[in-house]
């Protein structure tokens, strides 16, 4: 007992224990020292009677072979420990004692499961305890299900183990458990978390391949092999699919709720007792942590605490946590050590800059693994009745979005997650975040884009409300914009079929990229045409669609992509005939930009031998639209043959509109009628009757056009320049 006390007393400086020993800074004086000693004695005497301490003493001193069945002592003490565990969590010493008791099977196998289930740590877990328990795993005859439970426990509290170097030292020992079939998935997961470059050996790879031939291409084996491949590609020669399933499933269910409860109670104490002060702070310490797997861990170092005290200059690796400014990052760029938990990188901009610059494949793999796991856990494999739009979930997604915005690209795990989520999405859950994440997706090859993206989106689009439709069009617009910017930044201009190399794993040729862009534009064209029809030409939807086509019309001049795609008639005519003058004007502006792009493309075609060839069909379409627009608005020749909208004579007569062919010109168009009336009043204030046709005479007509241009309708001004 006394030994325990002194041990706990000495290690108290780093982690709080159940016995809250505080040593306040005070001036050195003998009287002070004596009072401290007296206080210590008092404290020890009090704790000697503490029932929890007595229970721990029982568990550490009990003899091997004591019967468990009908043992009241055991029952009483176990209940006490469980109560403390579920309320406050167990201190590191308590965990050591209990784990040792359970795994050594001193009282047989029956209390083992119960003890393992109640091992809820309050702060950290000492790695010596875990290592000793691993040893017992190999030595004792623990039943298979209990072994599995133990490994699951290690996986659950893995992030809370204070240091991992001893565990890494026994990597080979842990690896030997891989041959047990019932343990294999969990051991693979544990090895995945512990692997470093030194641990990858040829014989281990062989062993895994042997297992694979026995068990089949199991996902856990594939994951571990892919990690080995990242470190030593020469050892692992088999092909591993580049995108794999979500990852290892979670195993923390027996402890999950208890962990959450304990952490909520302990609040920010846990962060302050973490092994290192982190100079790169993120706000996880103050946040309430209800969802354990969603928290971004505090940035902390991988190495043991003792190693920290050595001078970190020279050839030693500098942990990322110690850098606080960009210049420091530049100084130590070649010897940075990444933290233990990759999730913490998401919070710190320095870390992200480093990651972006260095392109460490191992780090990206780890980060993607963690991210994919967190996303799947929270949004795709939910428990019953838990709403996924809780505060933590929203914050997590917002943080992910700001990270992606900072890096100007997305993670591959986010992409995989989004495709799966879209197929079960109802269109309203976390809509703004999901649409933002969607717009960050990198270029999808045209063979996959229909199946992965367009089919679920189409179904959602046509069954959802107007606001979803607008939101989706905006999302696709920003997706197109990002693709175009990516192309203009990364394209290497060697010859025409250039390969667009970037650090995403997708290598694309220029023609492949153009195909994808064309698919996207055609898809939005389809959505827009039918959407406008279903919504009756709603001006809000039309405005978003015209935003999209403002991006599309300038692909050649603004973004340097040799591609010009016209809009479909289903967009042109609703815009031309819309009762909203801004839409008509924007349509005119878009037509003007198309004209500029087409003329410059044609000139370039003539000038150089660059085989950028625009389809004749595109020119024909553009010319047709231009003719329709001008004859409708300026020349009062609507409904004539060849002008796009063709209605039979009888039908037009039935409408009882006199002089129907000029019913949509700039004077009589429903959008501009109010301007015509206003102009009429200004021009001929003395006239009593309204005679709008008099505006069509040559002088008032030019004044009227000028009047419209002054109202801000630049599109009209540019498409038909004033003489």
């Amino acid at each position: 007992m006394a030994a325990n006390q002194s041990a706990s007393g000495s290690s108290d400086s780093e982690s709080p224990s159940l016995f809250d020993s505080s040593s306040q800074p005070a001036p050195n004086s003998r009287s002070f020292n004596r009072s401290v000693r007296v206080a210590e004695k008092e404290r020890r005497k009090n704790e000697a009677e503490d029932p929890f301490v007595l229970a721990l003493k029982f568990f550490s001193d009990v003899e091997a072979g004591t019967p468990a069945f009908g043992n009241d002592n055991l029952e009483r003490n176990l209940v006490l420990v469980e109560r403390v565990a579920y309320s406050k969590g167990l201190s590191p010493e308590a965990i050591s004692v209990m784990l040792e008791f359970a795994m050594s099977l001193r009282m047989g196998t029956s209390p083992c499961v119960r003890v393992l289930k109640c091992l809820v740590p309050a702060s950290v877990v000492p790695q010596e305890a875990v290592v000793r328990a691993m040893v017992w795993l190999g030595v004792c005859k623990i039943p298979a299900s209990t072994q599995v439970l133990f490994i699951k426990w290690v996986l659950t509290i893995f992030d809370m183990i204070d240091a991992k170097d001893q565990l890494r030292a026994i990597y080979g020992f842990i690896f030997s458990f891989v041959t047990e079939e019932y343990l294999c998935p969990f051991v693979c997961h544990l090895l995945y978390l512990l692997t470093r470059k030194e641990s990858v050996r040829h014989f281990r790879v062989q062993k895994l391949l042997e297992l694979q031939s026995k068990l089949g291409r199991q996902p856990f084996l594939l994951h571990l092999l892919s990690l080995y491949k990242v470190f030593c590609p020469e050892y692992v020669t088999l092909s591993i699919p580049s995108r794999m399933k979500s990852g290892f499933r979670n195993h923390n269910s027996p402890w999950k709720s208890a962990l959450i409860a304990v952490q909520r109670r302990n609040g920010s104490q846990i962060a302050s007792s973490a092994s290192l002060p982190s100079t790169i702070k993120d706000k996880t310490s103050s946040r309430k942590r209800k969802h354990y797997h969603l928290e971004l861990p505090v940035l902390c170092s991988q190495v043991n605490k003792q190693a920290q005290t050595e001078p970190s200059l020279g050839r030693k690796l500098v942990p990322l946590v110690q850098l606080s400014s960009f210049t420091q990052l530049l100084d130590h760029m070649h010897r940075i050590e990444l933290p233990a938990q990759m999730g913490s990188l998401l919070g710190s901009s320095l870390a992200l800059q480093y990651l972006d610059c260095v392109q460490d494949e191992f780090a990206l793999l780890r980060l993607n693994f963690w991210l994919g796991y967190a996303l799947h856990e929270e949004f795709l494999f939910c428990g019953d009745g838990r709403a996924s739009n809780s505060e933590e979930a929203l914050q997590f997604l917002d943080k992910l979005l700001s990270t992606q915005h900072f890096l100007q690209e997305s993670f591959s795990s986010t992409e995989v997650f989004l495709y799966k989520f879209l197929s079960v999405w109802d269109g309203s859950l976390l809509r703004p975040q999901i649409l933002s994440l969607l717009s960050n997706i990198p270029v999808v090859p045209s063979s996959q884009i229909g199946r992965l993206l367009f089919e679920p989106l189409m179904q959602l689009f046509f069954t959802s409300s107007l606001f979803f439709k607008c939101g989706l069009i905006e999302c696709l617009n920003s997706m197109l914009l990002k693709w175009l910017v990516w192309h203009s930044v990364y394209a290497l201009e060697d010859d025409l079929d250039i390969s667009l190399n970037s650090h995403t794993s997708v290598n694309m040729t220029l023609s492949g990229f153009k195909d994808s862009v064309m698919e996207l534009v055609h898809f939005v064209g389809r959505l827009a045409s039918v959407g406008l029809q279903l919504e009756g030409g709603h001006s809000l939807l039309l405005s978003f669609i015209l935003d999209f086509y403002e991006t599309v019309c300038d692909t050649f001049l603004k973004y340097g992509l040799p591609l010009i795609v016209m809009f479909p008639p289903g967009v042109f005519f609703p815009a031309l005939l819309s009762p909203d003058p801004v839409s008509v004007d924007r349509l005119a502006y878009i037509m003007y930009r198309y004209k500029v792009n087409l003329t410059s493309a044609k000139n370039q075609e003539k000038g150089t031998e660059q085989a950028f060839h625009i389809n004749r069909q595109t020119f024909r379409e553009f010319n047709h639209y231009l003719v329709v627009m001008v004859s409708c608005l300026w020349n009062s020749r609507m409904f004539h043959s060849g002008m796009g909208v063709e209605l039979g004579e009888e039908l037009l007569l039935k409408s009882n509109v006199p002089q129907y062919s000029k019913s949509f010109d700039l004077v009589h168009h429903p959008a501009f009628l109010s301007y015509a009336v206003d102009f009429h009043h200004k021009c001929w204030p003395e006239r009593k009757d309204l005679d709008l046709d008099s505006i069509k005479q040559s002088k008032p007509w030019s004044w009227y056009l000028e009047y419209l241009h002054n109202q801000g309708y630049d599109g009209l001004k540019q498409i038909v320049p004033a003489p």
């Binding site: 995108r243 494999f381 428990g383 019953d384 709403a387 495709y419 309203s428 409300s465």
Partner: protein, 214 residues
């Protein structure tokens, strides 16, 4: 909103109804009192005493929010098909049949399959819709979701997903069903139910887990 349904038989264009076919897991849902049901003009058939699925009940309560865009729509619940014979004359025209499937219960899916046989084939041209709840639940086996998708795809009908655990999710599901109903009842010019179902029909995706970009 009480009507005598008899006179609406002639003026069928004014009267559109959705028939919900609800399949439930019989475990965890409470049965709200009958009084609440009738105040929202929910007509239950003889073999369905209560509005059993609490989410469906919420769907009904929120339905009133949308009547401003709609003249006299009503909705009815049934547990399974075929509908009982005794109410045949007073039953108005049915414009949309919605099968609500709770993915966490196997019984739900089985009842749906059994009821499909009783539906007139003309309905499958755009007047049938499937709605699945609890798709993101961890306890749902993937085979069941795949089977529902295959069923919807083979019938060329849309498959919608709904979040029935939150009021926002239920409101959104109601809105989506209304969008489909407007077209199915012929209230959107130039759009027929077959046209919409062609655009929104379910397709069975290949294995999403391994999109090979190589």
């Amino acid at each position: 909103m009480l009507h005598t349904f008899g006179k609406y038989k002639e003026r069928a264009y004014l009267h559109t109804i959705i028939l919900f076919i609800v399949y439930l897991s019989y475990n965890n849902y409470q049965f709200p009192a009958d009084g609440k049901c009738s105040s929202h003009n929910c007509y239950s058939y003889n073999n369905l005493i209560n509005c059993q699925l609490s989410a469906c009940y919420k769907l009904l309560t929120l339905y009133n929010l949308t009547t401003r865009t709609f003249t006299f729509p009503t909705r009815r619940l049934a547990k399974s098909l075929p509908l009982p014979v005794e109410n045949e004359e007073s039953r108005p025209r049915i414009d949309l049949v919605v099968f609500i499937i709770n993915l966490t219960s196997e019984l739900s899916f089985q009842s749906t399959e059994a009821s499909l046989k009783y539906l007139d084939p003309g309905y499958f041209l755009g007047k049938v819709c499937f709605m699945a709840t609890n798709a993101r639940n961890a306890s749902v086996p993937t085979e069941r979701l795949d089977a529902v998708r295959k069923l919807a795809a083979s019938l060329h009908c849309p498959l919608l997903f709904a979040e029935d655990q939150t009021p926002d999710g239920v409101a959104n599901a109601t809105e989506r069903l209304l969008t489909i109903l407007k077209v199915a009842a012929g209230l959107v010019p130039m759009a027929t139910p077959l046209y919409l179902s062609n655009l929104t029909r379910c397709t069975v995706p290949l294995d999403i887990d391994q999109p090979s970009f190589d």
